[in-house]
């Protein structure tokens, strides 16, 4: 066990992997574990896990109240997401376009164990790329509005990512992320969305509401965790994948499917990392079949050591008790890596420059905004030079 695992997050990881070990916790341990769990977004998950093994009553009163409070909130999120999915389905019913739910919404609607205790900030789903404009219009008609006002960001989403800009409902404030595939268009390893859609499974009678096939669902979660560059909920996402593997892994054929699918879609990298850290951080037992495959996929020793140095830090909760002096740097490097995976360098550099240097201009006056637009045009990243669009811009932003 490495030094990192031995310090800050040790108790949390032990409890996450084996909730029955709760009995040895002192009140001070609970204090620490709940703060870390809160930061990692797995507080409610603990509550469900402890309730499942009938241990909740044995938790000391104050921590138990805190866990129960988190569970109440998680149940509220679940109700809201079910309702929201029903609303999306209604808005798109007449179009008949297949809605492939992704991530949390999929876990919840398919009643998978990873859904318990999850908090939602948005609802992700995938529709065929050819019909994404139609879907967007129907959602706009049904009360969702673009959540991103900034023109650059709007354009960035449409041109370079795998989704349209997020939509926010004008009254309920819920956010939809409408994807047309699972990795950005510019990614170094593009994934054929059609391959995912054809394998998807129907959730309801008429087959409009769908989820990814088990292997695809795991691969998407792995891509999301290791290629998106944001680890605020890294541990939660890793635990979710652990739950999925445990659940689907009861079917012996699943592991072979998973390995073949990862190879076919070119996603062995993220899957290998997932399996490695499930074993190393959570001590999850894996069948030999998949362990051998993962050993085949693993990078050279130096790269492996680098991944360990970064990910064994970033996957822990971003809490002072878990972070060492290098945790911030590790997170930052992974963020840069994610962008590198997402975009070719000649696109990435202007994008990061704009994000870091020009962003403050939005708060400035017209002069700065104009300057920003000119710089963007120069970098060929700005909005197309339509005088009408330019004239309308300040109105939108106000």
């Amino acid at each position: 066990m490495s030094r990192r695992e031995a310090t800050g997050g040790r108790l949390l990881l032990r409890l996450a992997g084996r909730p029955e070990s709760f009995a040895t916790l002192s009140l001070a341990d609970w204090d620490l574990v709940l703060r870390q769990a809160m930061r990692a977004g797995i507080l409610a998950r603990f509550c469900f896990q402890l309730a499942e093994i009938g241990a909740l009553d044995k938790v000391p009163e104050r921590p138990r109240r805190r866990l129960e409070s988190a569970r109440v909130l998680a149940l509220k999120h679940q109700r809201d997401v079910r309702w929201e999915v029903a609303c999306v389905r209604r808005a798109l019913a007449r179009s008949g376009v297949p809605i492939v739910l992704l991530k949390g919404a999929a876990y919840l609607m398919a009643e998978l164990p990873s859904a318990r205790g999850r908090l939602f900030s948005d609802i992700d789903f995938m529709v065929p790329r050819a019909r994404i404009e139609e879907v967007e219009h129907r959602l706009l008609d049904a009360g969702w509005e673009p959540a991103v006002a900034d023109e650059y960001d709007q354009l960035y989403y449409r041109r370079w990512t795998h989704q349209i800009p997020p939509l926010r409902h004008f009254r309920r404030n819920t956010v939809l992320d409408v994807h047309h595939t699972i990795v950005p268009l510019t990614a170094r390893a593009p994934v054929a969305a059609e391959a995912l859609a054809t394998q998807s499974l129907a959730l309801d009678g008429d087959g409009q509401l769908r989820i990814l096939a088990p292997a695809d669902m795991v691969l998407h979660a792995a891509v999301h965790l290791f290629n998106d560059g944001e680890y605020d909920h890294g541990l939660r996402d890793l635990l979710d994948i652990g739950d999925l593997l445990q659940h689907f892994g009861e079917q012996p054929a699943f592991w072979g499917d998973l390995a073949r699918r990862a190879e076919a879609l070119g996603l062995t990298g993220p899957l290998q990392l997932t399996l490695r850290y499930l074993e190393r951080l959570l001590g999850m037992p894996l069948p030999d079949e998949i362990r051998e495959a993962a050993a085949r996929w693993q990078p050279a020793a130096a790269k492996r050591a680098l991944f360990d140095a970064l990910l064994l830090r970033a996957l822990l909760p971003d809490h002072p008790s878990c972070n060492d002096g290098l945790a911030g740097t590790a997170r930052w490097l992974l963020y840069v890596r994610a962008h590198y995976l997402r975009m070719p360098f000649h696109l990435l550099l202007p994008h990061l420059l704009r994000k870091s240097l020009l962003r403050p201009a939005e708060r400035g006056g017209d002069a700065r905004r104009d300057l920003q637009l000119r710089v963007e045009e120069f970098l060929r990243l700005g909005p197309p030079h339509h005088p009408a669009a330019r004239a309308a811009a300040p109105e939108h932003s106000e």
Partner: protein
């Protein structure tokens, strides 16, 4: 800086010659870094909580600057750290009767009020509220540090206290029966509450009614009453002996001053109360004092609108709230004179409570 630190350590050592005070034990880095997480690992007998007033102001400020204090406010235990003198003075004044511990193994909320270490230290200084190291709000001008502590504590309860149904309302109690006073800002709710709790009623809370989802009972917080704008001078006139904090000007709510809760209310904080009345107060200058019945349905909807976490509880929230409205007499109170309003509250009695009194 270093000199100040070592000086304060020496002072602490004087205060606790034989104590294993965490600031004396832990390295400087440990204290600054994680609010003394390491210290919590310590075993051994713990001292019982004492009243805040049992500590000298200097000792309180010293602890707040260092390992922090564990402040008991009703069902919640908050670990508070701050180096802002105004907050330490505010806690000494407003929470004098509350229970406090130097050490606890567990706290519901770990909060800090600190000054950002940037240019803001000198140019229009600010204070920020940290919740376990995160910043849920934008920083505020330093002069608003004390109200920020109160708002921050309210936020903690609203965001993490879902063991209760929480309604934005003042709660007062007499003879075991409680009146819930929901009120929009500017309705005179806090002014009325301040006067009532100095006239025979017990303060449960000025801001939050904590309704049990199991039995509908009300849990007390007994925290300071937040007075705004003109009511600050009004209360200073009516209650010349009450302890009132310094004014913080130009907050989002205007000028704010905090009133110390009565000692007896704090001493009885563990006693729950049965809800008996829901009264929506409105102060209108020169208006005749009038108590009018309000329909149960209307009361239910308005309470739901005033609740922090009604929707969070879903069906259980609806059941708890309708149960509450069923057991309470529901009124709308308009008053123009404080003395008349106080007299009217004096006449509320057990007979008025219950479903019969409230049908319209």
């Amino acid at each position: 800086m270093a000199r100040r630190r070592s000086g304060s350590r020496a002072r602490l050592r004087e205060l606790h010659p034989r104590s294993s005070h965490p600031r004396l034990r832990a390295g400087r880095r440990g204290c600054r870094h994680d609010g003394g997480l390491r210290r919590l690992r310590r075993s051994g007998p713990r001292a019982l909580p004492v009243r805040v007033s049992a500590w000298s102001q200097e000792e309180l400020a010293e602890r707040l600057r260092g390992p922090g204090i564990y402040l008991h406010t009703g069902p919640f235990l908050s670990h508070i750290r701050t180096a802002v003198p105004a907050v330490a003075e505010g806690i000494a004044l407003l929470y004098a009767d509350h229970k406090v511990s130097a050490e606890e193994p567990y706290a519901d909320f770990h909060i800090a009020l600190q000054r950002p270490g940037s240019l803001r230290r000198w140019i229009s200084p600010q204070v920020r509220f940290e919740y376990d190291g995160l910043l849920p709000f934008k920083p505020l001008p330093l002069g608003q540090a004390l109200p920020m502590l109160e708002w921050g504590l309210n936020w903690c309860i609203g965001a993490h206290g879902h063991q209760f149904l929480i309604i934005h309302a003042a709660v007062i109690e007499r003879n075991g029966l409680a009146a819930i006073l929901p009120g929009a800002p500017g309705s005179g709710k806090s002014t009325l509450t301040a006067c009532l709790v100095h006239n025979g009623w017990r303060l449960l809370s000025d801001e939050m009614a904590l309704v049990s989802l199991q039995d509908g009972g009300l849990t007390a917080l007994a925290r300071p009453i937040s007075l705004k704008n003109r009511s600050i001078d009004l209360i200073a006139d009516i209650l010349p002996n009450a302890a009132l904090s310094a004014r913080s000007e130009d907050t989002v709510k205007g000028a704010v001053a905090l009133l110390k809760p009565p000692t007896t209310s704090v001493e009885r904080v563990a006693e729950p109360a049965r809800p008996a009345w829901v009264i929506f107060p409105t102060f209108k200058l020169g208006a005749a004092t009038e108590l009018a019945c309000r329909s149960k349905a209307d009361t239910l909807i308005e309470l739901g609108r005033n609740a922090f976490n009604y929707s969070v509880h879903g069906a259980r929230g609806f059941e708890a709230l309708s149960g509450l409205v069923d057991t309470c007499a529901c009124y709308r109170l308009t008053y123009g004179e404080m003395t008349e309003a106080l007299a009217l509250f004096g006449c509320l009695d057990a007979q008025a409570a219950g479903p019969v009194g409230a049908r319209t």
